[in-house]
Each structure stands twice: as structure tokens, then as C-alpha cells.
Symmetry: C2
Subunit: 368 residues, 2 copies
Amino acid sequence: MISLTGFGTLSGFCIFAQKLIVSEINFTPINELGEFGLIDRLTEQIKISNSSTLKAGGDDCAVIDYKNKQTLVSTDMLVSNVHFDLLYTPLQHLGYKSIVAGISDIYGMNGMAGQVLVSVAISNHFSIEMLDLLFSGMLAACEYYSVDFVGGDTTTIGSGLVINVTAMGHASKKDIVYRNGAKKNDVLCVTGDLGAAYTGLLILEREKHVYLEDKKMQPKLEGYDYVLQRHLRPEARMDIVKNFRELHIKPTAMIDISDGLSSEILHISKQSKLGCKLFEDKIPIDPSTYHTARELNLDPTTCSLSGGEDYELLFTLPVEEFEKIKDHPDFTPIGHMTDEDFGCKLISKSGGEHELKAQGWKVFGGEE
Amino acid sequence: MISLTGFGTLSGFCIFAQKLIVSEINFTPINELGEFGLIDRLTEQIKISNSSTLKAGGDDCAVIDYKNKQTLVSTDMLVSNVHFDLLYTPLQHLGYKSIVAGISDIYGMNGMAGQVLVSVAISNHFSIEMLDLLFSGMLAACEYYSVDFVGGDTTTIGSGLVINVTAMGHASKKDIVYRNGAKKNDVLCVTGDLGAAYTGLLILEREKHVYLEDKKMQPKLEGYDYVLQRHLRPEARMDIVKNFRELHIKPTAMIDISDGLSSEILHISKQSKLGCKLFEDKIPIDPSTYHTARELNLDPTTCSLSGGEDYELLFTLPVEEFEKIKDHPDFTPIGHMTDEDFGCKLISKSGGEHELKAQGWKVFGGEE
């Protein structure tokens, strides 16, 4: 039995057999409602909490007014068997995570998220009860982050599940932080810790293979609570953006860590036309991530460099600004920006220099 | 050989064998580029034409500033074998249409479209050349409508093609037209003509079945140019919104016609808490739509009431305002709004009263 904050506890069995359980409770085919009935059912549950949301649902468009703020907008598509596996991903958690992944991009620009629009394509293996679970997770995230669910689209698909989240937010012109503003000698900082989501994913994949070989075997998930939580139900760092405002700090460059630390450092370096020096021994890795990686015969540093889906923030700050936050437990300095000629290097624990490489998500099997 | 404006001519063979032809010219697997390479290739072609677009691509979010205007936003998901059939839909046309379908919602609120964000999920049956065709169609629409392509996401999927378009636009508060503002006795008007896209679809479906039974048979598409064009490469009514501004006209209620006339009339009536009287003999139907419907043993009126994908605008105007546009060839009065108690009725050519029913897209097989 592992505890996953917010949606009660889930035994290993529950996770791996959710479809069975949900369908045993009740399986109402989607077509009993029809498209408009489905939309009505989902929109009934939506509450609006932002004054910038003038119209949500029920018309051709949502209407939003950020007054004198600039608008931030980003879109992300999640596909079953590419971004998530329905065998072990609870639908409520998936809904929550899809919103988090969307709004994380807004925080990565130092903005506040305000609205989301969500498109969902589902196959006829999906019941109304399953869709309700998915949406309840989305709405739980919207509530936690004070984000309004203002529009969407629901459609059918031959197989699987596709979710597209468009996240909108706002910031004053002076507060927006781009990737290209880092300066030489700026401190490179990261929030929280890295690599946990990826090791959590690997545990679920390991147990899935055990389960598929022998369905009487129940997945062993005990003791992996932290890494599983980080994979299945991550949080976005709205709190950090609020902290920056309170501390009167504005990073020179920032990005959210969705593809892994290496990839994000390279984005900031390339766009700021700089190099950087990253120190392996400074990378924040939680003890449970470390032990899980070791158990899987993986290098914990590699998991944090290339794992992805951490939804932490990577940013740069001038040294004198960094002084303001150096004792803050959420921030870890991991290196500094250099001349472009230096390139982007990882300084290993033994002092060796290694060129940083971006992994990306390799969803196309590419070598990026 | 049929002519489809904007992308040269396409023979029936070309349409039904596009995959073959494209792959014979060149088939470069997507994974040769990797995710970031793919994004670079696509974004290189993008040109920005709106001053409201402050940042497009290359960061966590796009940044947009509509100044004192309100923001309109809408999202639509298109799925292969649900919304389109790759057997007979040229990719360039599909790209164009996906943008048109997205921005049509902005015009339906009396706003001007400014930006789109596009997510695409493709299987590994897709080559870079095919993706280039799809994007070239999207960019052609962006150019025609002066809309900026500001962000997106590309991912893989087990099979098929999924496109999600989020359209953004703007309008002054005083100009935005909702569905709920119609008043009793307002004239119900429609732009252009209806039912063509649906009959075009039916012709393609008919020829597809002939082709699938005997692949030596070539589809007979000659003479159906207008209805095929309306299905494969529709246009959105930006011109009408501009007309309204020039004529100092503001409809009391408006909606774009994507699900068929009946469904849209019911939306306006329900939200305005009114009934309406629609006259069958007033519904504008192009002669080629009429003849195509008859050839298919269908009632042309039914095609226009329930066909969908016309992307025309349906709106209501007070009688005295209607006088300003009554001689305009793009506008046709088709009925008027009544008390709610009257319900929504179609008055047939023979004078009979029939209750209007919404068909929606029935993508879930429902009875809406």
C-alpha cells in the first residue's frame, strides 16, 4: 500500500488493475451521453476563481482579460504508450499531472498560470466513470493552482488516449523571464531535487514487466513512495514564482525542467550565447532517488541529467542576487555561466570535464 | 482533374494515392531529425505578422500582448478516421483546414484571430516530407488570415494522426458577441451557403468505397469542384467580421457553423432563452450542393441543417440593423427569434412546422 497525496492510498493491485476495478463498479459507455451531454456533464463541475476569466465554456471561445499584463501561452500533447501507460497510471493522477505539466511552462517564464483549455480524445474502451476520474484529477490541480478550466474539446479516437493541455498565464512585462537573458558568471540554480520522477517511472516499468509475465504477481511498490509520487503526481513550482516576487528577485534566465537538466541547461546556454560549468556533486538528488537508481544499476547523476518530468525550475542569477536566497532550502546552486567558447561542461566528482548532451524525450527514437 | 484553389490542381489519383506519391519522391523517417531537429525545421519557416506577438517559439511559452483588448481563446482536436480520412485528404489541405477550423471560433465571437498553437501527434508511417506538407498548409492559412504560429508540440503516436489547434484572438469588450444576446424578433441571418462541405465529404466517401473494392478504379471527382473544395479546404469568415466593423454593425448573438445549422440555432436559442422560426425556403444552398445531394438521394435541406463544417457564421440582428445589410450578397435572412415557449421550429416549404433537432457530430455514436 503506497500513499499518494491527495487521492488517498492506492495499493499496487489497484494501480495495475484500475481498468478492471473501475469497470466492475460501473461501466457506462460514453455514447450514452453523446457529445453535448458529455460536455455538459464535465463543465457542470467547473468553478471559476480568477477575475481574468470573463467567459469559460458555453460559447465559441473563452474570454480572458489580463488588463495590463502580458499573456503567456503554451501547449502540450500527452499520448498513451508514449507519455504514460494506462496499465499503471491512475486516471486521477494522470489528469492532475497533465495540468501540472501544462502550467509548469507558465512558471518557467516567471508568470502566474490563470487558465487551461483541455482537449481529450478517448477510445470506446473508456467509460463515463473513467473520464470522470480523469477530469476530477484535472479539476483538483486547477483548484490547487487557482487555475480556471475555461474550454476544451472531447472527441473519439480509434485506440488509446490523447490529452492536449493549453496553459495560459500572465505577468507584467518587467517580470517575464526568458531563456536568453543569462549573463557570464551568473549562478546556475535549480529548485527541489532531480531524477526522482524518472526512477519512479523505471520502478513502475520494472513491476509492469514482472506483472505481464505472471499476472498472479503483484507489483512491489512499497518503499518507493517518493519517486512514485514524483512520477505519478508531480507538482509545479508556483511557490517559487511567488517566492521570487516576495524576495524581489528576478532571474536573468529561467526554464522549467521537463526534458532533463542537461537539455534545459543547453537551452539557456544556447539562447544566452554562453557556456556553463555544472558541478556533478552539487546536483540535488533525494536519497530515495539515489538508492532507487543504484538498485536499478543506474548512475543517479545520469537520471537527473536526462530523466525529465521533474517540473522543477532551472534559473540563473547574478552572484549578488544569489546571496539573497543562498540559505533557502528550495534552491541549490549547481554551477555558473561561462564564455560561449568554454562550451557546456559537467565537472564530475573526480574533477573530470564532460561535455553536456541533450537527450530530449527521444519520442521519435532520434539521437538528440 | 479538379482544381483546388491555392495548392494547384490535384487529380483524383493524386488525392487517393498521396501517401504513395509522397513516399516515392522521398521518405525521410522523422527520427532522422529527432524532436529538437524537427521543431527547428518547422519553426524556421514561421514568419510573424502581428505586433501583439512578442515571442513565438523557442521558450517555455509564447508571449502575447493585446493591450486593451480582451483575449479570445478556443481549442479543437482533429483525429484521423474521425474528423478526416488520410486516404483522400491531401495533407496540405488538411493543414489549411485545421487552422481554419480553429480560427473560425474567433470570428464567431466577432474577434480577429491573432495566434495559433498547434500540437501534432504522428505515427512512424509519417515522413518528414509528409509533415512538411501538413505544415505548409497550416502556414498558408496563417499567412492568408494574418495569424501567427506561435507555439506547439510534436510527438509520436502508435497509429494515425492527431492535430490540436488552439486559436487566440482579440476584440474590444464592446465588440465581442456571445451566443446569449439574441432578442425576440431579431432577424436570424447566415453568411454564404450551407451543406456543401457535407456533400463534398459524401462524394469522397462514395469514391473511396469504389476504390477500396477495386483499386484499379480511379475516383470520379470531376464536376464536384465546389463541394470538394468546401470540404477539403474551407475558409473562415474573417471578411464578415471586417464587414461588420465597416458597416458599424454588431450582431446581438453569433456562432460559427461547425456542427450544422440546426445545432447552432439551438445553441443561440437556448442561451438567449428564446425560440426561433426558421424558413426552409430561405436556407442558402448552392446549386452544386443541391444537385450533389439529389444525386446521393439526400434532402439538400437536411444536408445544410445537419451537415456541419461549413464554417459560415450564424447571427441575429434587430430588424432595423438588418436593413443595413439586406442587399449584401453574403448575408441571407433565414428566420427570426421568437418567445421561448414557441420552441425552435423549421417551417417547411409546404408550410408544415417541424421541431429543430441538433445532430452534433455524433463522434461517440450518441443520439445528440
